[in-house]
Symmetry: C2
Subunit: 181 residues, 2 copies
DNA sequence: TCTTTAGTATAACATATGTTATTATTCTAC
DNA sequence: GTAGAATAATAACATATGTTATACTAAAGA
């Protein structure tokens, strides 16, 4: 009855995600995306009402990407805070454009930073809460302090102002956790 | 011999700085700037070779603005780290577009983050070094830790993820400084 | 007063962007 | 095979941007 669909939603979002990773969200334009997906701009607007709708879906994808990154990240120590911090800082350095998009955009489509860290997979939340329970009367305050610290290091990694080695980072996180606890 | 100059360099840069503060660096466009300065786009390109040259000068202006902000900021405590942190976090919340431009842009025209904090006025550096000297064997490490912490809080203030009151912030900074020292 | 000339405004060029109208294509039901 | 319809490509519209060419204006020296 009708022509077969050649360009799928997956094609579009995969191409968009690739541009996002390489060049940042502001470079995910209709024409550039079409070129990446080897099609015209028409399929994009068949699938998405407009570019903003696609951006919102990209945001969800990027959040999930971080969740998966963290979930699959080898645990370095027995301290969840240190593990989270290390993975988070690494992520910021390795996936700058994603980090910027997810953790430094003002709007963030209504989701708070803690929502992002926890996510639907909830890995972070679970581990941290367990750890915070271990001999710490004020868990939420500790979490906040550690998060501020970790976020600061990650943001410096983003702009190239953080240059500690892996082992130095682990040590720094261990020391800071011990001190702030 | 020739017509009098009506639009000065100061007119242009003041208008540009106003747009920067209100809407961010990506909104400092030739036409918008011309409208703000009540002129055509011609005087802009008489004064600056191109928009990038103006952006670079804006960056210097923005750095100086922060220096002045910090210099004029009432000292809250006797601890320079706490004072710096408080002012820095405040600055991020009150001047989001400037903070973003100065402390979160990737290029930053060759200047490192520490250069920016110290600046030509050098207030920060002087105070911190004096404080670090007071009974702290590893001053540079303490500075780094505190800076990471302060930067993290400021970046959260930028995105609306930091919501402690003034007194809570002071207390947080005091506690953290004490702990990390 | 007139000419010169730097400063300014207007308008244009070239490119980039989101979005939509039009046309062409191809698949499926008949 | 043909008709209908969804899909896609092409091209267009509207807007925005940096930058430049052209024309106009006014101030100062002759």
């Amino acid at each position: 009855m009708a022509r077969k669909e050649m360009i799928t939603k997956q094609d579009i979002i995969n191409a968009a995600f690739a541009i996002l990773q390489e060049e940042g969200i502001e470079q995910v334009t209709a024409r550039k995306l079409a070129a990446k997906a080897n099609c015209s701009t028409q399929p994009i607007f068949r699938i998405y009402k407009n570019m903003e709708e696609l951006t919102e879906e990209l945001f969800t994808r990027a959040c999930e990407f971080f969740q998966d990154y963290y979930a699959g990240f080898p645990r370095q120590t027995v301290t969840p805070f240190v593990n989270l911090g290390y993975a988070y800082i690494k992520f910021a350095g390795e996936h700058k454009k994603l980090f910027e998009f997810v953790f430094l955009s003002s709007e963030r489509f209504g989701r708070s930073m803690y929502d992002l860290v926890n996510g639907s997979r909830g890995n972070v939340s679970r581990e941290i809460q367990a750890a915070a329970g271990q001999g710490c009367e004020n868990a939420s305050e500790l979490f906040m302090k550690m998060w501020i610290f970790i976020h600061g290091a990650a943001c410096m990694a983003l702009t190239g102002d953080y240059d500690l080695s892996e082992s130095e980072t682990i040590q720094l996180l261990k020391d800071s956790y011990k001190a702030l606890k």
